[in-house]
């Protein structure tokens, strides 16, 4: 395999994930759910790239497909220049030492029969041959980073609050010192005051461990806070990508505009003027032709129904997939 030199740690090109729909006695494939359709983005070292969108838009599937937790149907993913799709299971397993996943629900992602010591030492046992002393040291170091103490090592997940559980699952993902993590809605299951604590922790760790991250979330405020660049997804496709502040200040895609305006404002004197979208997200098993957003778009024209817009650069580093954006 030839080494490709690149400024990016991770490059995703035209990623596709289709899920077969099976019916009948013979489980014949009668169609496909187009969960992810031609998604391309890149993540620089030490950069946080956020994927934002509503439920069912394919953001989590994209995250899983990047790490091959779900096998992509098409497209390529390059990590440090290696194409992940070409690696064998064994090679991929070794790669995962460097690429980790933080799950959404800490109540479900921690094995209830393992105590904190087992939960945190397991990834090290799998990926490294360490002496018991080194193992203790690494686990101890990680505990300090997440703000917990060694006397909590013997405890089991049910003895912790939601926020503490999420700290443990973050520690479990980061204990192998990966350079890249996918974090799938890591704060959605938590209360507001706890969310802020976990977000601060993640940002500290990201700085300290020089992590690159794909941060998946439906919460637009959280995304704005944590990410440097962002991709807005709708019905399996990227609608707009760019520098986070730029996209939030000057959204160009009609979907991004509606999405951003729908966030409730925290000022009762200035109740936000929502762009209220009509109707629901179309069925991804039967996506509309042309632009995926045309069924709900106020700018929809004939061309939008016919032709699928490509993601085009409209300003340096700012791309949008819309026929109406100049």
């Amino acid at each position: 395999m030839t080494e490709r030199k690149s400024e990016f740690l991770l490059e995703v090109r035209k990623l596709q994930v289709y899920f077969p729909i099976r019916k009948g006695l013979m489980k014949r494939v009668v169609g496909h759910v187009h969960a992810v359709e031609d998604v391309s983005f890149s993540v620089r070292p030490r950069e946080v790239f956020a994927l934002v969108g509503e439920s069912g838009c394919g953001k989590s599937t994209t995250g899983s497909a990047v790490l091959r937790l779900i096998e992509p149907t098409g497209g390529q993913v390059f990590f440090r220049g290696d194409e992940l799709g070409r690696l064998s299971e064994e090679e991929m397993r070794l790669k995962r030492r460097d690429m980790q996943f933080i799950f959404q629900n800490p109540y479900a992602s921690l094995n209830p029969r393992m105590n904190v010591w087992k939960l945190l030492s397991e990834p090290l046992r799998i990926h490294f041959q360490l002496s018991p002393g080194e193992l203790r040291e690494r686990v101890g170091e990680m505990l300090r980073l997440i703000g917990m103490t060694e006397d909590q090592l013997e405890r089991y997940p049910h003895q912790f609050s939601g926020g503490q559980k999420q700290r443990i699952s973050i520690a479990r993902a980061l204990i192998t010192h990966p350079s890249f993590v996918v974090a799938d809605e890591p704060v959605s299951a938590l209360d507001v005051s706890i969310q802020a604590q976990i977000l601060n922790l993640m940002m500290e760790l990201q700085q300290e461990m020089e992590l690159s991250m794909v941060f998946i979330s439906h919460d637009l405020n959280v995304v704005r806070h944590i990410s440097g660049s962002v991709g807005v997804m709708y019905l399996g496709s990227l609608m707009e990508t760019g520098d986070t502040e730029e996209v939030y200040r000057h959204p160009v895609h009609p979907y991004t505009r509606a999405l951003l305006s729908a966030v409730p404002s925290h000022d009762p004197l200035h109740r936000s003027r929502h762009i209220v979208l009509e109707g629901d997200v179309p069925n991804p098993a039967d996506p509309p032709g042309g632009c995926p957003f045309h069924t709900r778009c106020s700018l929809c024209s004939g061309r939008c129904r016919e032709e699928r817009p490509e993601l085009r650069e409209i300003a340096p580093g700012h791309c949008a997939a819309c026929h109406h954006v100049e």
Binding site: S193, R224, P264, H266, D267, H274, V276, D280
Partner: protein, 330 residues
């Protein structure tokens, strides 16, 4: 009665082993007619069980230990806590109804939308004919902006999206023209663009009818967008209560300030988010002093010893904090 609903000194307990544990402690609330009242707080603060208590739906082993809930019904004033089960059934769905958090699980999967709408109608109007019920059901679906009402009536829950299901829940809740609607996190399970649709709809419906709404949520944004008055719950108590604009502009209680800072610092310029240290104390493990003392940056010695009272610090603005007393005296 001046108010539609008056809750006085409501206490809810549960049993933990042999101990009685208070989950809600001396809550007073008055809901005006034609008002949308917000109840905000984090999980476990007692906001949802307050709603269940109003409807007489507290799950075992929770029970009301003390207090009164008086309701100004169509046929005179009623003490809801003293009603028999049968009398309560007449109130529920007819005068007070509720929308739940998860529309996906609150409709019955084995009955069509039509059957579930008819059930709500025929229970309170036994003599009503099918034709009339169908007319009312269609009218209601139309009111909540369901695109194809006829087709939707024949659908089952799994055939509809979350936003549509929540519209149907609202239609069922309003079908008997209740005087009070309890909405328990009605948009939490929905996406933000759908949330905007539902909040718009609820605001419109409130304008058209004289239904009061109690909006229970953890999201201060939802409160700011929809409510006129708001009560902030913490650890089973009200810690602050005021008109919405007053609460957001002259925030008094350190907990409310913390909540607001935590949400508004998101997206702000500074990288480090403001956090309230510590966690919400679980029910029954409350100190005898101020329940927020452990997490409060301005905690004084007095706060750990003595429980502050909920006091009026400005007309209509109540706050449970010793710091406010000092300012009032000064």
């Amino acid at each position: 009665m001046d108010h539609l609903l008056e809750i006085r000194n409501l206490k809810i307990t549960t049993l933990r082993g042999k101990d009685k544990v208070y989950l809600l402690d001396s809550v007073d609330l008055s809901i005006r007619k034609k008002c949308s009242f917000g109840v905000v707080g984090e999980s476990g603060c007692g906001k949802s069980i307050t709603a269940s208590a109003i409807l007489g739906l507290l799950p075992y082993p929770l029970r009301v230990a003390e207090g009164s809930i008086r309701f100004d019904s169509r046929d005179g004033e009623k003490e809801l806590l003293k009603l028999s089960r049968k009398e309560m059934r007449q109130v529920r769905g007819e005068e007070i109804s509720m929308i739940f958090q998860e529309p996906m699980t609150s409709l019955d999967p084995i009955f069509t939308v039509e059957m579930q709408m008819f059930e709500a109608l025929s229970f309170h109007h036994p003599g009503m004919g099918k034709g009339e019920m169908r007319e009312i059901a269609l009218e209601m679906l139309h009111r909540v902006n369901i695109p194809r009402p006829e087709q939707t009536l024949a659908s089952y829950a799994h055939q509809l999206s979350g936003g549509q299901l929540q519209r149907i829940m609202i239609a069922i809740a309003l079908i008997n023209n209740p005087r009070l609607l309890l909405a328990d996190e009605p948009t939490t399970a929905l996406d933000v663009t759908i949330q905007a649709q539902i909040l718009h709809l609820m605001n419109d419906l409130k304008e058209q009818r004289d239904t009061s709404i109690i909006m229970i949520t953890h999201d201060l944004g939802v409160i700011a967008e929809t409510c006129e008055e708001v009560a902030v719950f913490y650890a089973g108590q009200i810690v602050e209560q005021a008109q919405v604009v007053e609460l957001f502009t002259h925030t008094a209680h350190p907990y409310t300030k913390g909540l607001l800072r935590a949400v508004t610092s998101l997206g702000g310029a500074q990288r480090k988010l403001y956090t309230i240290p510590g966690i919400v104390p679980p029910g029954g493990q409350w100190s005898r002093g101020c329940r927020f003392a452990e997490r409060c940056e301005q905690c004084m010695e007095k706060c750990r010893e003595e429980m502050p009272a909920l006091r009026e610090i400005a007309p209509g603005h109540f706050c449970r904090c010793f710091l406010q007393d000092r300012e009032v005296e000064a």
